[in-house]
C-alpha cells in the first residue's frame, strides 16, 4: 500500500513538473531567452515596421499607380488604385522629352562631384574639430552652426550677388568650390556628423598610433577613416541626395547652363507641356500622370543607389578590433 502511494505521488509530481516545463517552454517560445528573440517581440517589430513603412510607401504607391494610368482611368472616378489597363505612355513621353539617359548622366555628375568633395572636406574638418584642441575652437564651431541655422532664404540675395561677382554662376563650379571648402548645401551638418563620429572613437587608439610614430595625417587616413565608414556613407548619400534634389538654389545658380538637375528638367518639361495644351483639354489631364512618371524616374536612381550602399552600414565595426572604453 505504502509502495503504491509512493508511486502515485511520484506520478503526480512528474505530471506537475511536466506542466511547469511545457508552460516555461511556451513562455520561452513567446518571449525568448532574452525577450528580444521571442515570437511576441518579433511580431511586435514587424507590425510596427509595416505600420510605419505604410506611411512612407503610401505616396509612393499613389505615384506609381497614377503614373501607369491612361487618360480614361484618370478621369474615371471609380478607378482608384489599380489602373484598368497599364500603359507606359506617360513614361515614354517624359523619357523622350527630357532625353533621360543624358539628363541622368548630367544629374549624376552635378550631384556626384560636389558630394564627393563635400564628403572629403567635411571628413577633414570634422576630424580637426573632434580630435584637436585649439584656441577659438568654440567660436569657430558656433559660427559653423550659425551658417547652417540661418534660413537660406535670407542669405539668398547676397549669395547670388557674391557668386555673380566671383563669376561662378551657370556652371558646376558654383557647387564644387563651396563644397570643397566645407560650405556646400547643409555643409555644417556633414561636419557635425563627422565630428560626433570621430568623438566616438576612443582617444587611446590615436595615442597608441602616435607612440608608434605615426604623424597626424597617417593617423587620420589609417585609423580614423576606416572607423568612420558608416559616417562617410551617410554623408555621401545625404549630400548626393541634396545636390540631386535641390531645386530652389540650383534653379537660380544654374540658370543658362546646359547641365541641369533632373527635377529641374522635369519642371521645365512640365512648363513646356503646359504651354502647348490649353487649360481644360484632355491632354492637360494627362499631364498629372506624366509629372508623376517624371518624379518616379527622378527618384528611382537614388533608391537604387541607396539599396546598394546600405550594406556597408554594418561592415565598418566588424573590421576593427577595438574594445569599448
Amino acid at each position: 500500500m505504502n509502495r503504491l502511494l509512493g508511486v502515485k505521488t511520484k506520478i503526480v509530481n512528474f505530471v506537475k513538473k511536466d506542466k511547469n516545463r511545457s508552460k516555461s517552454r511556451f513562455k520561452r517560445f513567446l518571449f525568448g531567452m532574452k525577450f528580444t528573440d521571442g515570437l511576441f517581440f518579433k511580431v511586435a517589430i514587424y507590425l510596427m515596421l509595416v505600420g510605419l513603412g505604410y506611411i512612407y510607401l503610401y505616396p509612393m504607391l499613389y505615384m506609381i499607380s497614377f503614373s501607369f494610368m491612361t487618360m480614361n482611368d484618370i478621369i474615371d472616378v471609380s478607378v482608384k488604385w489599380v489602373p484598368s489597363s497599364f500603359t507606359l505612355e506617360n513614361y515614354k513621353i517624359v523619357w523622350d522629352a527630357i532625353d533621360y539617359p543624358n539628363a541622368l548622366k548630367d544629374a549624376i555628375i552635378l550631384a556626384g562631384l560636389p558630394a564627393l568633395s563635400a564628403t572629403f572636406s567635411s571628413a577633414l574638418i570634422g576630424y580637426g574639430f573632434a580630435k584637436y584642441d585649439f584656441p577659438f575652437k568654440k567660436i569657430l564651431m558656433a559660427l559653423m552652426i550659425l551658417t547652417f541655422i540661418i534660413p537660406p532664404q535670407i542669405t539668398m540675395m547676397p549669395t547670388f550677388r557674391m557668386y555673380a561677382n566671383y563669376n561662378l554662376l551657370g556652371s558646376i563650379r558654383t557647387f564644387i568650390y563651396p563644397a570643397i571648402l566645407g560650405q556646400g548645401f547643409n555643409g555644417a551638418i556633414y561636419i557635425l556628423i563627422f565630428y560626433s563620429f570621430f568623438r566616438m572613437i576612443p582617444n587611446s587608439l590615436m595615442e597608441s598610433a602616435q607612440l608608434d610614430g605615426a604623424g597626424p595625417l597617417k593617423i587620420f587616413t589609417k585609423i580614423a577613416i576606416p572607423l568612420a565608414v558608416p559616417a562617410i556613407i551617410i554623408v555621401f548619400l545625404f549630400s548626393f541626395v541634396w545636390y540631386y534634389n535641390e531645386t530652389y538654389l540650383s534653379g537660380l545658380f544654374l540658370r543658362g547652363s546646359d547641365m541641369l538637375t533632373l527635377p529641374l528638367r522635369v519642371e521645365q518639361f512640365m512648363v513646356n507641356y503646359a504651354s502647348l495644351y490649353p487649360e481644360g483639354s484632355t491632354a492637360r489631364e494627362l499631364m498629372q500622370s506624366a509629372k508623376l512618371a517624371g518624379n518616379i524616374l527622378t527618384i528611382l536612381p537614388l533608391l537604387i543607389l541607396f539599396f546598394f550602399t546600405q550594406k556597408h552600414f554594418v561592415e565598418a565595426i566588424d573590421k576593427t578590433g577595438i574594445t569599448g572604453e
Binding site: Y56, M63, F134, G324
Partner: protein, 354 residues
Amino acid sequence: MKNSLKKVFKKTFQSILQFSNKYIWLPLEKYIFIPIRKVIYKMFHSKFIHVSYTHVVLFDKFKIKRTNKRQQAITGFGFIFLWIIGYLIFSLYPVFNSLYLSFFKVRLAGSDINTEFELFNNYRAAFLSDPYFVEILINYALSMLLNVPVTIVFALIIALLINQDIRGKGFWRTIFFLPVIIASGPVISELMNQGATTLPSIENYQFIDLIIENVGSFLANPIQALFDEILFILWFAGIQILIFLAGLQKIDKSIYEASMIDGASPWESFWKITLPSIKPLITISIIYTVVSMSVFSLNDVIVYIRGKMLGESTPALTTGYGYTATLSWIYFIVMALIILVFVGAINIRGKRAK
C-alpha cells in the same frame, strides 16, 4: 599550360615593375621628391625660422617652446584650414550683409540698390506694427516645442527597429530612406498639396468620430491634431533615422553581451548603453530637425517672409529686402533659442545622471 601562363604573366609583371622602378620612380624621387624635401627642410632651418625638436626659433632671437598643446593647436588648425578659407570666401559676406541690411531701408531701383539707414526701425516695426508676424512666430515656437521631441523619439524607435535582427534589412532600410529622398526634393510640396501625405484611413474609418462619441471632443481634438502632426513629423524624420542607424552600428556588441551576463534587461541596456552612446548624435538630430522644419518652404513663417520679400503683402508695411532681413534675423534668433533649450535640456539631464 596553366603554369606556363602563370610564368609568362609573372615575368611580364616583374619586368613592368623593374621598368617602372628604373624609369619612373627613381627619377621621380631623384628630381622631384628629394628636392621638395630639401626645400621644406631649408624652409624650417633657415635664419628666419628654425625648427628643432624642442624649440622653434624665429629670426635667431625669439625662442618658442614646442609644447604638445601648441603642436596640437597647429595640427588642428591645419585640419580645419579648408573650412576657415571657405568661410571667409563664401559664408561671411552673405551672413553679415543680411545682418547689416536688416538695419536699413532697402529699395531696389532697377539694378541699383538704395539703402537708407534707420537704426532699429525695422525691428520696432516687426514687433509693434506688424499685425501677423509675432502671432505666427509664437505659433511656430509652440509647435516646435511639441514636434521636435516627437520627431527624435520616432526616429530613434524606427532606427532601433531596423537595427534588430529582421528579415529583408535592405528592403526596410530602403523604405525608411524614402523620406530622405522625397522630403529633400520638390516632390514633398506637391504631395502635400494633393494630400497624399495624410493618411485617409484615419478619417475614413471614423476613428476620430468614435473618440468624440465615447469620450468627448475635448480629448479628440488634440488627438486628431497629434495624428496630423505625426504624419508631417514622420516625413521629416528620415535623416535622423539614418544618423541614428549609423550610430547604433558603431556601438560595440560585446558591451551588450557583458551587460546581459550581468543580468541587465534589454530595457535597462537601452537606457544605460544605447542612449548614452548616441547622445552626441541626438544633439545633431535636434539641430537638424529644428532647422529642416524651420526652413521648409511651406513653413508659415517662411511663407510670410517670402511674401514680404516679393511684396505680396500689404503695401503699407513693405520696406523691401531690409525688412525681410530683419524678420529673418528675428526668426533665426527664435530658432537658435529653441535649439539651445533642447540641447541644454539633454545635457543637463546627462550631467545629473553622472
